[in-house]
C-alpha cells in the first residue's frame, strides 16, 4: 500500500532581513493530525518535496492545547492557532467520518503584521509593551497576609472571567485592518485587558490612568469597528463590547480632564 501523503507549503525566511521563499513538503498523512504535529513530522524528516535536504521549521509552540497563545500563524492565509487547527478540517472534512481531500495543499505563513524572527516565528512583544502602557495589573500593597479580599458579586466575576481568558495570541491584532505600522493601534486585546482591570474593585484605582493612556496616539480611537477581532479570537472574548465600554469611559475621562486639568 502506498503511503497517503499531504502537501504543505511553508513560507520560510531564515532571519528578519532575509528574503522569504516557499518550500513544499510532502508528509505522511494520518487521521486527526493538527498543524503542530505536521510541523513535528517535518522536523523528523526535513526534506523538501523535490528530495532536497532541508531544515526543521522554526515556529512557536508550547502548550499544544490552545491555552498558551504561542502558536498563532497564517494557515491557508487565515490567522489561527496551529495547535488547534485540524488537518482533516482544513482538507475539507467538516463532519466526522467525511474523507479529507488529500489533493489540497495546506499553506503556512507567519503572521503578517509582526516582524518575522525566522520561518513561522514572529516577535509579538508589542502586546506585552502595550499591557505595560495601560498598567494591566492590580496594584496590591504587598504579598504578605493582609486578610481576605473584599467581597465581589458573582456577576462581576462572570463579566471579568471571559476577559481574563485572553491568551495573548495577537490574532485579534493580526486580523484587524486598523492594526498596522501607520496607525500604531494598540489592538483589541489591550483594550479588553483595560476593561478587565478597571472592573476589579482594587484594580480600579488605576482606572483613570489607563483611560488616559488609551486616549494616546494609537489608542482606542483607531478602532474602526471592523469586528474581525471578535470573530477571529480563539478564546471568544467579548472584544467589541469591551471596545464600546472603554470607548465611552475614555471619552468621559477626557471630558472630565478637560474641565479639571
Amino acid at each position: 500500500m502506498t503511503e497517503r501523503t499531504i502537501k504543505v507549503e511553508v513560507k520560510r525566511q531564515s532571519g528578519p532581513d532575509a528574503k522569504a521563499f516557499t518550500e513544499t513538503f510532502e508528509i505522511p498523512y494520518r487521521p486527526n493530525m493538527n498543524i503542530t504535529s505536521l510541523l513535528g513530522e517535518i522536523a523528523l524528516n526535513p526534506r523538501a518535496i523535490n528530495g532536497a535536504e532541508s531544515t526543521p521549521i522554526t515556529y512557536d509552540s508550547n502548550c499544544l492545547e490552545e491555552i498558551c497563545g504561542s502558536c498563532a500563524m497564517l494557515i491557508n492565509g487565515k490567522a489561527m492557532m496551529a495547535c488547534s487547527a485540524l488537518v482533516d478540517k482544513l482538507l475539507g472534512a467538516v463532519e466526522h467520518g467525511q474523507k479529507p481531500d488529500l489533493s489540497k495543499t495546506i499553506t503556512l505563513a507567519p503572521l503578517s503584521k509582526f516582524p518575522v524572527v525566522r520561518d513561522l516565528a514572529v516577535d509579538r512583544s508589542v502586546l506585552f509593551e502595550n499591557l505595560k502602557a495601560v498598567k494591566a495589573w492590580v496594584p496590591i500593597d504587598g504579598t504578605y497576609d493582609l486578610g481576605a479580599a473584599p467581597r465581589q458579586h458573582p456577576q462581576i466575576q462572570e463579566e471579568r472571567y471571559p476577559l481574563s481568558n485572553c491568551i495573548s495570541c495577537t490574532i485579534c491584532m493580526e486580523v484587524c485592518p486598523q492594526f498596522n505600522d501607520v496607525t500604531g493601534f494598540v489592538g483589541a486585546a489591550t483594550i479588553a485587558q483595560t476593561k478587565l482591570f478597571n472592573m476589579d474593585p482594587a484594580g480600579s484605582v488605576l482606572k483613570e490612568e489607563r483611560l488616559r493612556a488609551l486616549a494616546g496616539d494609537g489608542g482606542i480611537q483607531e478602532c474602526g469597528f471592523a469586528q474581525n477581532c471578535v470573530q477571529a479570537c480563539p478564546k471568544q472574548l467579548p472584544l467589541t463590547e469591551a471596545i464600546s465600554d472603554i470607548g465611552r469611559d475614555v471619552f468621559i475621562q477626557q471630558v472630565k480632564d478637560f474641565f479639571t486639568h
Binding site: 531564515s14 532571519g15 486527526n32 493538527n34 504535529s37 513535528g40 523528523l44 524528516n45 526535513p46 531544515t55 526543521p56 522554526t58 508550547n62 502548550c63 499544544l64 492545547e65 491555552i67 498558551c68 497563545g69 495547535c83 488547534s84 485540524l86 478540517k89 472534512a93 466526522h96 467520518g97 524572527v117 525566522r118 520561518d119 512583544s125 506585552f128 499591557l131 505595560k132 498598567k135 494591566a136 495589573w137 492590580v138 496594584p139 496590591i140 504579598t143 497576609d145 493582609l146 486578610g147 481576605a148 479580599a149 467581597r151 465581589q152 458579586h153 458573582p154 466575576q157 471579568r160 472571567y161 481574563s164 481568558n165 491568551i167 495573548s168 478587565l196 482591570f197 476589579d200 482594587a202
Partner: protein
C-alpha cells in the same frame, strides 16, 4: 556582600514568578530567564483549581486536615515539615491571589467558591472556571510586569539556562545561558539562583505537559553535582486524549457524571463505536470493580487501562486507546461537562455528545525533582529550586489541585531564603568560574554543530519517549527497567552521532532541542534507575512483582547523584515527625 543582592530566577511559571515577586518586593533586583515568554509557561495548562483549607463551606475543614490528606495522598514519602508549612500558608495564598484580581468563582454572597477534588472529603479547591492555572499565572505575570516597569525586574525571555557557574569551592556565582534567537551563549553573574523550570514530561515523548517541559535545566544541574530526588515518581493521569503531538487532559468529572470506560469485546471489531451493540462492549472497570466501577481511584484506573491495552492487546484498532463514553448521558448531564467536551471536540473533531471519546492514560506530573532542604536550597550552595522542578511536597503521588499551591509556596520560600543566603556570602575569588563555564558550554555547542553524524535528534527523542512510556510509567517490571536503561545507554551512544540538518546561528530551534535532548537522556536514566532499585509499590510507583508498600526498606527519599557519568543512588530518611505512616487504603473513590 555590600551591594544589593543580585538574584537570577530561571523559569516564569507560578513558582518562578512567585519567587520574583517576593524578591522585588523585598527590594532585591531580579533577572528572570525563561525559554518562553513567561505568560506562555506551562502553568497556564492547569484547569481544576488550587487547594487551601479556608473552610468557607462549614464543613470543619482545617489546615491540619489538608496537611494530613497531602501526606497520606503522597503515601508518606513527603517530608512533613514543608508540607505542614505549605498547607498552613494555603488560605493566605488564596487571599493574596484574590487580591491580585484572579477571577475566582464566587458564591452569591460574594465569597470565594470551593469545589471538591480527589483525595479529600472537603470542598477545598478554589477555582476560576476551568482555567485556574491560566488565571493564577496571569495574576502573577501582571505583578511581575508591574515590577518590570518599575525597573526591579529584568526579563530575559527567549533565553535558555544551560548551566550554573560554580566557583572553585562549588559555590554558585551565576548562570550560563543561551539566547535562543542569536544563539549567543553568555554567563550572567548572580549571588544566588532559583531554578523553577517545571516538570519533565517530554522525556516520555507525549504527555499532558507543554513542549518546554523537558527537565533539561534540572538535569544540567544534576550533572553539575546537584542531587535529584525521587525521580521514579511520575504521575500518570488515567484519562487523557491521545493526540498526534500531545496528550490533552480529560478531567475526571467526565466519569463523575456517569461516563463509562469500555473497549470492543472483539479486538478486531472494525465497526464505528456508536454502532457496536451493548453486549459487544467490554466495560472492564465495571466488571472488575463492581463496587466503584468507573470511579475507581486514579492510579487503579490508570493501571487497568494500561493492562487492557498492553497485556490483553485490546486497545481500539490495536492502538493504545479505550473509549470513555458520555454519549448515553442525558443532555443536562452533558451540559455540565460542556467545557471539557468542547476541548475534545476542538482537538479531535468528533462530538463526544454523540461519539464515545478515545482516551488513554497520559504522563502528567513529575513528583520528583531537584533535592532541596526545607529552605528550598539544593546541595549546591546558592542554587535554590521551587515548583514542579523540586521534589519537596508531593511524595509518591500528588493530590489534584495541590501543585499550584506548592509552586507558589515554593517560590515564596525560595525568594526570601535566597535573599537571606546572599547576606553571608563570601566575596567571589577571581572570576568565580565564569570564563571556564562559558568555554565549556561553547565547546559543547561547537562540537554539536560540527558533528558529522547521521542520527536525527527527533528520532532519538521519539525512541526515548516510546521506551520510557513502555517501561517506566504505569506498571514497572525490573526486567523492563533494565531493558529501558540499556536502551537509554544505546541512545546516549547514538547521540554522539547526531547530525543537525540546521547548522545556522539564528533562532535554530532544533539545535536548542538537541542540547536539551542530551539532558533528557541523562535524566531518563535517573528515573529508570530509581524505579529499578525501589522494590516496592508506593503511590504512582507500581511493581506487580513487589505489590506492597515496604516502609522498612523504602520509606526513604531516593537521591541520585551523577557519578562517573551515571546515576548513583543513595537514600535519605523521610521527615515523619507529625503523622505516623499508616496504610493507604481506598475505601471510597
Amino acid at each position: 556582600m555590600a551591594a544589593a543582592p543580585r538574584i537570577i530566577v530561571i523559569g516564569g511559571g507560578l513558582a518562578g514568578l512567585s519567587a520574583v515577586i517576593k524578591i522585588a518586593e523585598a527590594g532585591g533586583t531580579v533577572d528572570l530567564f525563561s525559554i518562553v515568554p513567561v505568560k506562555r509557561s506551562h502553568s497556564v495548562c492547569a484547569q481544576g483549581g488550587i487547594n487551601a483549607a479556608k473552610d468557607l463551606k462549614g464543613e470543619g475543614d482545617t489546615v491540619l486536615k489538608h496537611f494530613d490528606d497531602t501526606v497520606y495522598g503522597g503515601d508518606f514519602l513527603a517530608n512533613q515539615t514543608p508540607v505542614k508549612n505549605m498547607t498552613a500558608q494555603g488560605p493566605a495564598i488564596i487571599d493574596l491571589l484574590d487580591r491580585m484580581g484572579v477571577p475566582f468563582n464566587r458564591t452569591p454572597e460574594g465569597l470565594l467558591d470551593f469545589r471538591r477534588f480527589g483525595g479529600t472529603l472537603y470542598q477545598r479547591t478554589a477555582f476560576a472556571g476551568a482555567t485556574t492555572g491560566q488565571q493564577l499565572l496571569y495574576a502573577l505575570d501582571e505583578q511581575v510586569r508591574r515590577f518590570e516597569s518599575e525597573g526591579k525586574v529584568k526579563k530575559y525571555e527567549g533565553w535558555e539556562f544551560l548551566s550554573a557557574v560554580l566557583d572553585n569551592n562549588g559555590v554558585c556565582r551565576g548562570i550560563c545561558a543561551m539566547d535562543l534567537r542569536s544563539m549567543e551563549t553568555r554567563t550572567f553573574a548572580a549571588d544566588a539562583i532559583i531554578v523553577c523550570t517545571g516538570g519533565n514530561g517530554a522525556i516520555f515523548g507525549k504527555s499532558t505537559n507543554s513542549v518546554v517541559c523537558t527537565g533539561s535545566a534540572q538535569s544540567a544541574l544534576y550533572q553539575q553535582g546537584a542531587f535529584y530526588a525521587n525521580g521514579e515518581f511520575i504521575q500518570v493521569h488515567p484519562t487523557a486524549i491521545p493526540g498526534e503531538d500531545k496528550l490533552r487532559l480529560m478531567s475526571e468529572s467526565a466519569r463523575g457524571e456517569g461516563g463509562r470506560v469500555w473497549v470492543p469485546r472483539d479486538k478486531n471489531d472494525k465497526r464505528a463505536a456508536q454502532s457496536i451493540p451493548e453486549p459487544d462492549r467490554w466495560y472492564f472497570l465495571e466488571e472488575r470493580y463492581p463496587k466503584y466501577g468507573n470511579l475507581v481511584p486514579r492510579d487503579i484506573a490508570t493501571r487497568e487501562i494500561f493492562k487492557v491495552v498492553y497485556e490483553d492487546g485490546m486497545g481500539i484498532d490495536g492502538q493504545p486507546m479505550v473509549y470513555l463514553d458520555v454519549s448515553h448521558l442525558a443532555p443536562e448531564k452533558q451540559h455540565k461537562l460542556e467545557g471539557i467536551l468542547e476541548i475534545y471536540e476542538k482537538f479531535v473533531g468528533d462530538d463526544p455528545r454523540k461519539v464515545p471519546m478515545k482516551i488513554f492514560p497520559g504522563v502528567h506530573y513529575t513528583m520528583g525533582g531537584l533535592w532541596v532542604d526545607f529552605n528550598q536550597q539544593t546541595n549546591i550552595p546558592g542554587v535554590f529550586a521551587a515548583g514542579e522542578a523540586d521534589y519537596s511536597i508531593h511524595g509518591a503521588n500528588r493530590l489534584g489541585a495541590n501543585s499550584l499551591l506548592s509552586c507558589i509556596y515554593g517560590g515564596f520560600v525560595a525568594g526570601p531564603q535566597a535573599m537571606a543566603y546572599t547576606k553571608n556570602l563570601p566575596a567571589q575569588v577571581g572570576d568565580g568560574g565564569h570564563a571556564a563555564e562559558l568555554k565549556r558550554q561553547n565547546e559543547k555547542n561547537s562540537a554539536l554543530l560540527n558533528n558529522k553524524g547521521t542520527e536525527n535528534p527527533f528520532k532519538i527523542w521519539r525512541e526515548l519517549g516510546e521506551n520510557m512510556t513502555k517501561h517506566a510509567t504505569i506498571v514497572r517490571y525490573n526486567a523492563g527497567l533494565d531493558e529501558a536503561d540499556a536502551k537509554i545507554v544505546e541512545l546516549l551512544d547514538r547521540y554522539k552521532n547526531v547530525n543537525l540538518s540546521d547548522k545556522s546561528q539564528w533562532a535554530n530551534t532544533s539545535f536548542a532541542f538537541t542540547r536539551q535532548l542530551y539532558n533528557m537522556l541523562e535524566l531518563a536514566r535517573v528515573i529508570v534507575k530509581g524505579a529499578r532499585l525501589r522494590d516496592e509499590s508506593r503511590g504512582a510507583h507500581y511493581k506487580p512483582e513487589f505489590a506492597e508498600r515496604n516502609d522498612e526498606r523504602f520509606l526513604k527519599t531516593t537521591k541520585a547523584a551523577f557519578v562517573d557519568g551515571a546515576p548513583s543512588i543513595s537514600y535519605e530518611e523521610v521527615d515523619t515527625q507529625y503523622i505516623t505512616p499508616r496504610p493507604r487504603v481506598y475505601t471510597s473513590s
